[in-house]
């Protein structure tokens, strides 16, 4: 599994370097298409079965068709920013759900840990594939594919030589993420606001989702959630300090994993015992 991700990352960077844009675009479109239609179809089916509602094929077809087409338009072409953000979040959540549902128990945790390490390596080492991807994009002065990035604010300033400090995260479709900060005073168009790679979203969601599914306790889930947010704040802080591409995964995921396992094994028996003995702090 890890080797698959490594291979795909390197493959993507090689394609980008040799300007095989059509291939990359085609692949991105295909994968987002599949996610928008197929996964949401499955998810909708599950939801209806859980709530024991009757639903007919024509209505479902209409819902999925609308959702999918508007999603494709929003992400790959132009659309209102909030809607694009909402769609990207929805896709990340769906992808995370698929991971949570179909990955065996321990594999998910091991993969999370391994990916953080790989992310660290891939972004910070000079020869790392992700770093090369970002630097190549900056050299060519072109924005990284919109389908892979979540941007919090988009303001195009044409013609201003305003030294804006902006963070540009990129993420691979396979799930690598890095948070990049580029300092580009002479570019004609500049993007402000933080951009976070989609893969980061997916793995954060996987972490919290698994905590919610297997922890069985709100404390664990909440602890993971808070841990990830703290990790993200720290990463942004580091971003402001270093002004370079940074991996967004390692810090948050480490915190999240640590919090999850410690809460699960230490805090829960403690609280259970307290409740059993009716001893309130």
């Amino acid at each position: 599994m890890i080797s698959v991700i490594v291979v795909m990352t390197i493959f993507l960077v090689v394609l980008y370097k040799y300007r095989c844009y059509k291939f990359i675009h085609g692949w991105l479109i295909l994968s987002s298409l599949m996610m928008l239609f197929w996964f949401s179809f499955m998810y909708l089916g599950e939801v209806f079965k859980t709530y024991n509602l009757a639903m007919d094929y024509p209505t479902v077809a209409m819902i999925i068709w609308n959702f999918g087409v508007v999603g494709m338009i929003c992400i790959h072409w132009k659309g209102p920013l909030q809607l694009q953000q909402a769609y990207l979040i929805a896709i990340s959540a769906l992808m995370a759900l698929v991971f949570i549902k179909y990955l065996p128990e321990w594999s998910a945790w091991v993969i999370l840990g391994a990916i953080s390490v790989y992310d660290l390596v891939a972004v910070l080492c000079p020869k790392g594939p992700l770093r090369m991807l970002v630097e190549t994009a900056q050299e060519r002065n072109e924005p990284i594919f919109p389908a892979l990035i979540y941007s919090s604010a988009m303001i195009w300033m044409v013609g201003m030589a305003n030294p804006a400090r902006h963070a540009e995260p990129t993420n691979q479709d396979t799930g690598m993420f890095c948070l990049i900060s580029a300092y580009n005073p002479l570019a004609l168009t500049m993007l402000r606001g933080v951009k976070l790679g989609l893969g980061d979203f997916i793995f954060y969601s996987v972490l919290v989702g698994k905590a919610a599914a297997t922890g069985g306790d709100w404390n664990t889930t909440l602890a993971c959630f808070v841990a990830i947010l703290i990790g993200l704040c720290l990463t942004l802080l580091l971003l402001a300090i270093f002004k370079k591409a940074l991996p967004a995964l390692p810090i948050s995921i480490t915190f999240g994993l640590v919090f999850y396992f410690s809460t699960d094994n230490l805090v829960r028996p403690f609280m259970d015992n307290l409740a059993a003995h009716q001893f309130y702090i």
Binding site: A54, D56, T59, V70, P80
Partner: protein, 109 residues
């Protein structure tokens, strides 16, 4: 996408494309069962069409927004009727009802 940064003509083109529902300005796909697209059109361009002070292309944008709104309301009416009919008569239709069903609730006829 930040609307304020676009020049007026581009806003008009965008609104029209959203109305017709396709990228290459061919009318055929426009009405391709996409009420959601029309809703997005209405919400997104509402301020442009009705709140901002007048400019040349605004009239056309207004027409597009109004038509999108009408189309959306029409589709909502159609869908609501169909859903009500289906939910009400599903059991009585027997085989046809089952054939049309995506999920069948357990325990209820």
């Amino acid at each position: 996408m930040n609307l304020e940064r676009l020049p007026n003509e581009e806003k008009l083109t965008l609104c029209r494309k959203y109305y017709f529902g396709n990228v290459y300005n061919v009318c055929v796909w426009g009405f391709a069962f996409l009420p959601f697209l029309w809703l997005v059109n209405v919400v997104w361009f509402f301020k442009e069409a009705f709140v901002k002070p007048t400019y040349t292309e605004q009239l056309q944008i207004k027409t597009y927004v109004k038509c999108s709104g009408l189309g959306f309301l029409l589709w909502v009416a159609v869908l609501t009727t169909w859903i009500t009919i289906f939910q009400h008569f599903r059991a009585e239709w027997g085989e046809v009802g089952d054939y049309l069903s995506f999920t069948i609730p357990l325990g209820i006829p």
